[in-house]
Symmetry: C2
Subunit: 104 residues, 2 copies
Amino acid sequence: MNPQPLLQLDRVIHEKGRLGIMSALAASPRMSFRELRELLEMTDGNLTAHVRTLHEAGYIAVIKEVDAGRPITSYSLTQTGRTAFSGYLKLLAQVIHEASQSMT
Amino acid sequence: MNPQPLLQLDRVIHEKGRLGIMSALAASPRMSFRELRELLEMTDGNLTAHVRTLHEAGYIAVIKEVDAGRPITSYSLTQTGRTAFSGYLKLLAQVIHEASQSMT
């Protein structure tokens, strides 16, 4: 087993909740807090913590606006986040490929 | 984005350190504590915690023996662990496939 692809996996992205957020934002250019929370079946507290971590890593942008007097927070992938996610997916594909071969 | 494959990912396996242990034991029928620690560049404390979690889930067997008066602890995948890892890899492949399509 070559451990290198696995050892290089970005922990910021790999955590299951954050992997969900990154995947959702890769598929949709912009999602609100509520949309993400419902899609990924997360609690407010979990989602808040994970978007903070992704924002601090520079992977997602936070968009705050007011719609009909109501504040709405949305998120989108940054270019840095897109690049990091793309690299993560390539490494993870290598991990899966090697592990799947071991399992046959 | 269909969140189902992602939501179903087994957290016991998904954590990066444990994914490394499961991948290593899928590739080798049996590995010692020292071999795993060196391959995966983990600390004693981290490796101890992760093998305990995997053992408690029924995914790995712990083999204790004495070689030339020295105790050696080794690990191997159980059938339950092999089945769980195989299911995990299939789900993860779906997650990657969908996310990779979003990124193009």
